[in-house]
Symmetry: D4
């Protein structure tokens, strides 16, 4: 940022750029203002990952509008999360390149193939957690990570998890997805030596209070290296795992 | 109860007992009314265990009064829970036979030696849970159970628990005591085939919310055979474990 | 487990089994990995009860897949909980031996007749609690317990409960099911001398907060021998009652 | 109020009172403005009971100032609640007629003897609830009610309560004071045919959450005729019971 | 009760009744056991009011069964609360005398005309609270009270309430129904000298948290003589108001 | 008020008005009593703004009745909030001048054009918050304020907000609308020197707990000059902003 | 900001300022970096009010350091909130001009006399709320507002508030401070036509849950024009009231 | 693990190791059993970091015992968190090499100098958050990370944070520590392209509810790449940041 500003100010000094133009340039918004949304077009520069469209609460028209604005600026791998089949169908009708994954409730527009990097493991406590897991897994894959799925390895049957401890030991980041008592994150945290991102899910009933139980359990984990994202936030878990995995893997080649 | 009433009514018929006397007898309270307390003197008949005095919120004088009333009726093994050293000292000064356990904050008046029965395991997640564990262990021992202590076997280091799985497999009842994420109960519940009584503790900070986190985790356990008592209720866990252990063990001899 | 490992290691020593084969055998998973689920096939050895399929959040196809995998390994009395009529119909179409109980929302595949053991009492506070009660009762019956139902005996009309105190006195375990204020567990806990498993229900409105009120009431029970499972967890209550009842009854014969 | 206004307006018409005087009179505040407090001097007219000073959060000087202002206007039976011994000592030093009850943490200035009316029963779940009970009992007695105390009759030992059912049947109002599970109110509500005022107490630990458990239990009571006041609000329970008792009793004579 | 027992025992003495018959008689349940429900047939003796059927969670068949059982024992004024139009239609088809009030969601079978007694005021904070108000009003009317309705007199426009203060001053009991901030109960409590029963409603949104806000506000009322029932519990408010009104009014004649 | 009373009392003195008439006049309700509602007709005098009808929980007939009563008294700009399209259609059929805004779910009857005053800014964290924003914006516009909309300027992309800081600096009041973490209010509070009204929204999932997260965040704002209204209360935010804007702007002319 | 940048860029063009110097100037932090704190020295420009030091959690040395840094830059009227007497004494020893107000727990360094503007009313529900009121009142006075105190005017005795309605009608902003049920804000909101800032207090016990009850009540206020700040945040209430009062008053002169 | 087992089994085959010895070896616990604690001695192998002793709830004797057991096995850099000065003094008296940091309340025994790797930034919202920040910073430094401290850069004065954006852009991991509204994590998350670990603190009052407000805010962050640890868990934040930093940095050399 400083370098950019210095370069710009040097151009002002040399007269290449007028003060008014410089001001404009400095203020020129690094986003596309669509009225209902201000699509962030520089995030890949600033955050090392493409823009993601959180679909919930947006109309199909709004989502398609944002995709179009991004496509016009040559974006690829545009992830759209939390959309239903009907919205996906609408987008598909308007966008020539869009793939929808119904279990994970997400889609990717203008997907670009990449060689998967490193190793991210997505583990789930039960079968019912799979939609959140797939949101995490597909997000991490879209962002370029190699993903291994370990589903239904909850702590009430430890041997299922222990028989996969080798996979866990090799991971650069693990996403531990569990509802109800959420103990999976602590047990995995004790088994492996990489960051564990705990994703509580709203799977459960009664005193699970919509995922609160799993959330609190995970926040109180005795295992070091465990951090937590929002309930059912598979995207957030997958995104962060991919970010950690990329940091740890890119430099290996 | 029915048999007692029938016997009484037969005596009324035969004239042995007058109707008024019978009414009195039926209504004669099966407790010692001390004004501030109505000490339950028939509970051992009704519940198979002696009266327990919950000390918190009672004055030393009140506790001693209840002990005296019970002693006059030949009670033994009178358990007094949740008392501080000062209260214990006061009781000790008034009662010739009283042993206080400071870590567990409980005492036993007129303790009677019994051959321990069966097998109760008290397991703790961490070192800080030991006071609650000892409350459970001493309660179960006072009520006649053989007790094995497994402390600091929390799930973030599974090998500590797994290396003791033999002890767990042989138990008639396990008391799983844990604060913070409270995952211990689920893991133990998956390892053994007897009832597991989960005791959440207030050990922890921040989002443990005084034991709420462990409590919710335990209530949501995926493992079958796990039930929960109040936060820090070591007495309740030990009492129930002893009750289950006695049911399962007495009939073996 | 130790004996198994020792036997295996002796065979390795004798050359009967090669080290690699032994490693494989030790690691051979004691579950059927169906991708979406890892059905636990050794639980009856480890826990003394057959596998139970928690139906909520699983597709009819997944449930049928798990039943099939278990049936192939000669399992009987496979309990499937929390399923709707449509799911039951689907399973019925695929499985030749499946009975569905709509009030309890559970079904049993390949049920095997057993002589009922001991005595479990299922008591409810009100008529609206019956679905949870039936989940508990049918679970306990499937697991081999003799069950007595005492419905609508809430504490606001004590005589209804007191007139059944004989039944309660004879039980090996009582499941006390109640919503709203949940006081039933404490009153029953004071009347009988066996473990009482309290099941709070979400029956109620307003400040019952989906069963939270009954849950807290039960956790704070002054009666000893009372423990609590999750809100509406009839299965958990019935399972634990059957486990306690079996421990207390098997050894009587 | 209307009659007063009409009378005043008639005097305006007749010239007995000038419009300005009438305005002043209408606006003349029916309270003593002490700066830090506006002591309500007409409440006994408006509410049928004397002013009560809630002592918590007020300095001894402020409390004494209010008592003095009331005494100057010939008030009697001035109740001061929630004060410690030190505050009571201070008031005693400044006021010639003040009696302090340390267990109930309340005092009465210028107490006036009255013949007690009707019947209010104060029942407690346990010994630890006695301070709240005494606050209720002394409040009701100060307000002129005959009070019967039934302490330590919690639901885990029903016979203690049932043996006193006659007293409950004769009451005009019952105050049911209980902490922990708070089931006492429901059981009493089912036994008697007068209003039951439930007072949850903060007695308990862990999942009693400072009285929340008892509060919720009482709010969800299945028994009709039960209403609830704030946690530990013995004064509120006693005041309301006295009000109901007076309404039901005064007209009998 | 004592008199009944004494009479019975005297008959035992005289030989009129055999001990076994007496036992049977003592144990003969004072309720009709319908399997799914134990309809309380003595409540009107014990509580001075007829049985009320809480309809929520009961099937139309169950409700009709209970009404029939009560009718066979000559009950009148049988109140059925919390039922929908469809249930009411079903009952109407089976019962020759049943009136349904759709706004209050309650009905009365075999209603009996009575001269209304005393004065109960039902006040509401807003128009949206009317369904709960009507549940209270119709309950109190069915139980024999004269009822005045004061709707939409919330505290944000005090003159609406103050212009009706005369009605409030004359009441024997007031039911204050309000959602959102629930301040109505305190203001009314300060205006009148009879018991005020506060009924919080779930009317509101956001931080009203389903009525929790109004509930807490009412529990913390600074006005004396205010007590609270469950959220949306119009029945409970109306029942208690009628009970207080009857106690205060019956003796006037 | 005092002047009115004095004038009235002077007329009583002079005999122009009889005492009874004066009493009537003083008590004459400044609202239209429609039975189900007491429409406040003097609020514009008392509060400087016309009556607003909160539509939720009212039937279309009730709303139309209130509009009619107000229209008969020559009210204009009658705002009706929280109504669905069907209700709007009904009102439209009965009222000749009614405009409905579906996104904001509000309508205005008999709208009157005014020159907009001052400057109110409505800022939103995301696209999904727009319905609440529009409720605020249209309310403020109906009440006469000039409104600037700044949507989708959440804190995770600060440049979007910073590039609009000029607009914020010129505002007389800002309404900051945000769900999820609700940080927008603090950041805006640090950028501008006018009151910021924070409106938390229920946009979000999981640990947003229906807007609780945003609400707490906003209440804890470190920025001075920030206050908070209820979750999703766009009307309240817009109303207060317009009130502040009018106070600050009217006096400028 | 834009004008400043443009001016700076013009100077860069003209050579008056070198690009590097300009960059430095643009980045030159508008705060004093003391290591432990970054004292905001431009806030009075940006927000129209001087910096305020929130004392809680800061050592006396840190507070004095910040005052000194501000004094060196000629700040006046430096408000220090939430400090105890010991801290005040320490500051007094180091700073030659510091006045401490013990009830409000705040102090002012280098106070500057100003003519008070407009009218802010601080109203309290009870005597115990006075410390929070004084924090609000002294803050508003320090920021230049004329303040009227109306203490102990809670809604349970409406006449105390109504007799002061004239003062409320004339205010430019009202701060309504109340604990327990917090109804004061709604009642005041209905009486006056200026913004009402509600400050819930932690005064109360039991179900006041540390001020949560008053907070929720105030957030749910039916009166328009009411907004809420944090529990016990007298400073926030006084600051916002002064800001609104200044906007409304400055332009009148 | 597999390799170890295979090697062991090969030795069994060759007769080098007897089956019984192998069994023993396989079961030999990888921890030091001190009775009250089972110190995990293999964690550095399994997790890439040395053991950490959580001091809260442990006696000085227990902590010293664990340090001694670890030292005997040649551990270095033994971190002891959450201890007071008195405990530190005790340890210092028993251990020849122990450094205590009072602000962070942690100490290091047998610290070993390492070249710091990569870049971890610890940012705080306010001065009061510094103790938690220092716990994070010293933990990360002890684990070998280079740490930059950015304190008092809360979002209400954005320029303080923006002027340090360069430091944030260069970090491999950022720990964002904030109480009250906790918005810091979101703003930082939007500014940098590395993982952000949010640590909510209990700094605040009223509606911060002991850190709950900051916790919820952080969990709901709109910025991608943000995860959360427990309230006040500086250690957890620092540990995870160091783990991520090491993964990203080690491979660069």
């Amino acid at each position: 940022m400083n370098n950019d500003m210095l370069a710009l100010l040097n151009k002002v000094k040399s007269g290449e750029v007028s003060p008014h133009q410089a001001l404009l340039s400095l203020k020129m918004e690094p986003f596309a203002d669509l009225g209902y949304a201000k699509a962030d077009l520089h995030r890949s520069l600033r955050q090392g990952a493409d823009e993601v469209i959180y679909g919930e609460g947006k109309t199909p028209e709004q989502i398609t509008g944002i995709i179009t604005a991004m496509r016009e600026r040559s974006f690829e791998n545009i992830l759209v999360t939390r959309i239903q089949q009907e919205t996906a169908d609408y987008i598909h009708g308007k966008t020539d390149d869009f793939i929808y994954h119904p279990i994970a409730r997400l889609g990717v527009a203008y997907s670009r193939s990449r060689d998967p990097l490193g190793s991210v493991v997505i583990a789930s406590g039960g079968t019912s957690d799979i939609p959140v897991c797939e949101e995490a897994a597909l997000t991490a894959e879209t962002l370029g990570s190699r993903v291994t799925r370990l589903y239904d390895v909850g702590v009430a049957g430890l041997h299922r998890l222990l028989s996969n401890s080798g996979v866990l030991m090799d991971a650069k980041a693990v996403v531990a997805v569990a509802g109800m008592e959420g103990a999976l994150a602590s047990v995995i945290g004790g088994l492996c030596d990489c960051p564990v991102i705990a994703v509580p899910t709203s799977v459960g009933y009664g005193a699970s209070f919509g995922g609160l139980s799993a959330l609190l359990c995970m926040l109180n984990s005795c295992a070091s290296g465990v951090s937590v994202v929002n309930i059912d936030n598979g995207f957030g878990g997958g995104y962060l795992a991919a970010m950690i995995n990329r940091q740890a893997s890119v430099t290996l080649g």
